[in-house]
Symmetry: C2
Subunit: 288 residues, 2 copies
């Protein structure tokens, strides 16, 4: 039986070494923006999105060199979104993964531009390496009808009373869409059949939403060590969170239910599904 | 003989009506970001880049419906770059084309996100409508080795003495690359032969650099009516400009020489080149 920790470590190393090659060197001019891009990309992210891409691809087909680039491009998009999300005009987070946020380590201007550069580099890689339909799908997932739309509503929700429907909408858009797309990217690259793609899409949706709910829970219950940033930041900014709208216990139950549904969607794949299933467990285990 | 003013007006109307259809409606949720995207896209831009795409395409081949979308995507990228460039952490411009900048009309947070959304929407359109190699080329032209690289050096040049080589590097990257890409996009969509593409690439480079030099000159010599924003903003921020490094008269001569070189590169095309040639004249006439 595969040890999921070993699997995650191995894939993480593979992704990191590929990101190292895909990103411009820190010595290349203009050095500030290249150093900034690397600062955030190599800030200790768990690589959940690209690992999901690789795992989904391996589940349905053969893993090829190009698909690793596609996975890395999705990690770049995730990183760009975190950089812009931390800006003073957005969540105003001074820390990220235990280190100063990019705009604190560099400047706000460089942080905006490093995010923009990662965004462009991701599409340069996707256009060169991904199936065309997937490039369109990624752009849709992160646009104003996807991730950015979620961030807009998240920003505008501060200090407001939201309905359960609204908070679910925010979490789906700002977080779950990109995670679902990462899973689908792997499935599409691997040549998934229609039913396989549908099952993996469901898996991605459930894991994606659970991941954000658990993030909310950790913001209330976690420690600085777990989060790498100040605990209670959501409450301080009166953010729309699951614990605020549903309460802590119900939020925990909802996350567990979503993870179970994600695992159930893998049943048709049989015993080969153990990696994705264990990754789902791993996500929920963060709750402690 | 074609009247270039009529040509520009006609293409402008075509581009505007297509942008109208490509952008999410102002009523679609989240309305703030969709209103913001529209506010900036319909702020009275001259549509130079998409017009160059259409004119280059018509010069070498047949104009198709899809290519209009490609042209509009380039205008969205240009708009996103202006939005981020105007931010307080960048050029801190309160006005753009005679109207409050997006971050003044909305908020800084919405301005960052609206720029990001236009960036993503542009790639959604390009991936669906442009030849694959062109999507890669656009991404390269606007990344850290292209437009963003120029903006980084521009930002970092404030208050510094730059060499002529450095200021040329900044202008080529922050402005000329996207204009060259707009011309090349049209040529590639139109199915240009190698020699045609080389000639049009040269045209785009020269017009692109001349355009930014003239912008610098207008910042010194123009009026609020010409610029739609405060005159002398570059000087106030101690920006690296051509007039500062080369003097006003030499800058003017360099712009005129570049425009002549742009027009010369069109000679092999014969009399069909009149539109692109007149657009080059039009760019230089802004100097007055």
């Amino acid at each position: 039986m595969l040890n999921v920790q070993d699997y995650l470590r191995e894939k993480c190393a593979l992704i990191d070494s590929r990101l190292e090659r895909l990103l411009p060197s820190a010595e290349e001019s203009p050095t500030s923006v290249h150093q900034a891009m690397r600062y955030s990309v190599f800030a200790g992210g768990k690589r959940l999105r690209p690992i999901l891409t690789l795992a989904a691809c391996e589940l349905v087909g053969e893993m090829k060199e190009d698909f690793l680039d596609v996975a890395c491009a999705l990690e770049m998009i995730h990183t760009y979104s975190l950089i812009h999300d931390d800006l003073p005009c957005m969540d105003d987070d001074d820390f990220r993964r235990g280190k100063p946020s990019l705009h604190k380590a560099f400047t706000v201007g460089i942080a905006v531009l490093a995010g923009d550069a990662l965004h462009a580099l991701a599409f340069e890689i996707l256009a060169a390496k991904a199936p065309l339909a997937l490039v369109v799908e990624v752009a849709q997932a992160i646009g104003s009808r996807g991730m950015i739309g979620g961030q807009v509503l998240d920003l505008e929700s501060e200090g407001k009373e939201l309905t359960p429907h609204q908070v679910e909408y925010i979490h789906q858009h700002k977080t779950a869409f990109l995670i679902r797309t990462a899973v689908r990217a792997g499935a599409i690259c691997g040549g998934a059949e229609e039913k396989q793609l549908a099952a993996l899409t469901l898996y991605g949706e459930r894991v994606g939403l659970a991941f954000q709910i658990i993030d909310d829970i950790l913001d209330v219950r976690g420690s600085y060590e777990d989060l790498g940033k100040e605990v209670g930041a959501d409450q301080a900014r009166e953010k729309a969170t699951y614990p605020k709208v549903f309460g802590l216990e119900d939020s925990r139950e909802m996350a567990e239910k979503l993870i179970q549904e994600a695992k159930d969607s893998l049943v048709p794949f049989g015993p080969d599904t153990h990696v994705l299933s264990k990754i789902a467990d791993f996500v929920v285990q963060r709750m402690g």
